[in-house]
């Protein structure tokens, strides 16, 4: 980071800064448009969902209707359990695997790593037909673990953590071993704390992806007990009665609120963790 704090010699000044700001702001507005529309529509009666009359009366009716149309409380719980389960297991499994790749030499390590990298491309999302069959054989259809299992061993996570672990100086590792620490202890006491930014960045990616995942949960869940929010939102997406944007927007805001709020509050930390994670 620049010590001078002025953005360096190429930072735009004066007119070009204003121009750039204007362009950036225009795009920002475009990017926010759907969310702004959602906010407008959710808080106004249906007749204003296509008309943008400035002083139209506000109403919470849509939220009430949305809440009543499906058991969103249960969906919230399910989704929360789902992302927590996935993230927790991912952190554990990927840490162990990354540690193995980073610091251990064993026969077949190269092949194993290549197999892991395969998953970067061949994601569970494209193997829906076969994975469904596997879940049926395991008797896990229509449960939250069924949604979670295919994603727990994450090649992305292993890859990131391996990079992070590799950058820990070997001397620290040797020093810890000299003091008699076992494998797991070295991992827990040394590597994990040093990779904190990576964990944070990875958690952000994982949570936002799985909170919003749709196709696999749609296929593998049937009942309310296992269904996450995105599948629950489907009740509004296709109806004989046509699209009622007011209710859809209310439901959208309801289900996205936790993530949006979390990001609003923690965005600096997240971006910083991405930086410190050296993800590139």
């Amino acid at each position: 980071m620049s010590v001078r704090g002025d953005g360096g010699p190429y930072a735009p000044l004066g007119a070009s800064r204003a121009l750039e700001s204007a362009a950036a702001w225009l795009f920002a507005l475009l990017w926010l448009l759907p969310l702004l529309y959602a906010v407008w529509t959710a808080f106004h009666a249906p007749e204003f969902s296509t008309r943008f009359v400035p002083l139209a009366p506000l109403s919470l009716e849509n939220f009430v209707r949305a809440w009543n149309a499906a058991p969103f409380a249960r969906y919230f719980v399910n989704t929360f359990l789902l992302v927590t389960l996935i993230l927790g297991c991912q952190l554990v499994l990927c840490t162990l695997a990354a540690y193995a790749f980073a610091r251990f030499r064993f026969a077949g390590a190269q092949i194993a790593f290549a197999l892991v990298l395969m998953q970067l491309m061949i994601m569970p999302d494209v193997l829906i037909v076969e994975n469904y069959r596997t879940m049926a054989r395991l008797g896990l259809v229509d449960t939250i673990p069924a949604i979670a299992l295919p994603y727990i061993a994450s090649a992305f996570g292993i890859f990131l953590l391996r990079q992070a672990f590799k950058s820990v100086p070997r001397e620290l590792d040797d020093a810890a071993r000299v003091e008699g620490a076992g494998t797991i202890q070295v991992l827990w006491r040394l590597y994990v704390p040093l990779a904190k930014p990576v964990y944070l960045a990875y958690a952000l990616v994982s949570v936002s992806y799985h909170w919003n995942n749709f196709l696999w949960p749609l296929i593998v869940t049937n009942s309310v007990e296992a269904r996450p929010l995105t599948v629950g939102l489907q009740v509004f997406a296709s109806s004989d009665q046509g699209i009622d944007w007011s209710v859809i927007c209310a439901a959208t805001l309801m289900t996205s609120a936790p993530l949006l709020l979390a990001f609003l509050l923690f965005q600096r930390r997240f971006v910083q963790s991405f930086m410190r994670a050296g993800i590139r």
């Binding site: 990017w31 990927c94 892991v116 193997l127 990001f263 993800i279």
Partner: protein, 292 residues
């Protein structure tokens, strides 16, 4: 010696849980899909029979399959370069000290936080003829009304726009992190030599961002083949298969028609495409490691 063996065993033990799950949910299904594609779909009155390349022959003769491949390639061509370029541009803007940059950064990243299934409906409103948002804006400029999603020529483009909107902000974060890691002394040195901003970008920043670009490229490619949520909501693959993508067709065939073996053949094509890209990426990563 025993130390080495011990060491190796530890390594394998640490790796085992992850490998087991990967094998079960990635490698095994891929293999099973491959095998399945050579058999016919089992039905209650007709058990599965080995049919060799029949599924593939049917696939090659299926116009919807070809349409979905072409659509997917256009989709990839439309989303990948544009979202990466936009992400880079956004990162550069946010990195510069423009006014209100925290808000701008948040604005760009917001689409990532919203489920596609929900925003697809909002975009449906944007594209609705006559009173949709796009139409309302365009009518001010005197542009005639157009059925954006109902015309094959424009439907795919509309879906591409939604995909770009959704992922550019996500990629921006990676670029932002990488940009801020470039040592400021480089900028000062370049300025001293009288390089213009564009030259600085082209000769210094962009090459240093190469690893990020590669990383983002891989993600963009994967996304081009796996995002179908907006199609499920907005167009159902229509009009007349104009927005049917490969994965969407797999879903339709596997879970709509219940023709699981044909779906397996289709999945193999998808996997082959992804594997080809994976190979390129692995080779490039190797080169990058040497380059670093």
């Amino acid at each position: 010696m025993i130390q080495r063996a011990h060491h190796a065993i530890h390594g394998w033990l640490l790796l085992l849980p992850a490998m087991a799950l990967l094998a079960l949910f990635t490698h095994w299904p891929a293999l099973a899909t491959f095998i399945d594609s050579f058999w016919s779909t089992p039905r209650p009155r007709r058990p599965a029979a080995f049919v060799g390349l029949d599924q593939y022959r049917a696939m090659l003769a299926d116009p919807v399959f070809w349409q979905s491949v072409v659509n997917n390639l256009w989709f990839a061509l439309g989303t990948i370069p544009v979202s990466i370029a936009l992400a880079l541009l956004m990162a550069v803007w946010v990195n510069d000290r423009i006014a209100g940059r925290a808000l701008v950064r948040m604005a760009y990243f917001t689409p990532t936080m919203l489920p596609m299934i929900a925003v697809a409906n909002i975009w449906l409103f944007f594209y609705t003829p006559q009173y949709g948002l796009l139409e309302q804006v365009l009518s001010h400029f005197g542009v005639a009304t157009h059925n954006w999603l109902g015309t094959p020529a424009t439907a795919l483009a509309c879906v591409i726009v939604v995909a770009i909107w959704k992922e550019a902000g996500f990629f921006m974060i990676f670029y932002l992190a990488a940009l801020q890691q470039i040592a400021p002394v480089l900028a000062e040195a370049a300025a001293l030599e009288g390089a213009s901003r564009w030259t600085f970008f082209r000769r210094v920043q962009f090459p240093l961002l190469m690893p990020t670009t590669l990383f983002v490229l891989v993600n963009a490619v994967i996304n081009a083949f796996r995002t179908v949520d907006q199609i499920i909501v907005m167009t159902h693959g229509g009009p007349d298969n104009a927005t049917t993508l490969l994965l969407y067709y797999v879903y339709q065939v596997g879970f709509g028609f219940w023709d699981t073996s044909y779906a397996a053949a289709l999945t193999m094509v998808l996997l082959a495409l992804l594997a080809a890209v994976s190979l390129c990426q692995y080779v490039l990563i190797e080169r990058r490691i040497h380059y670093r």
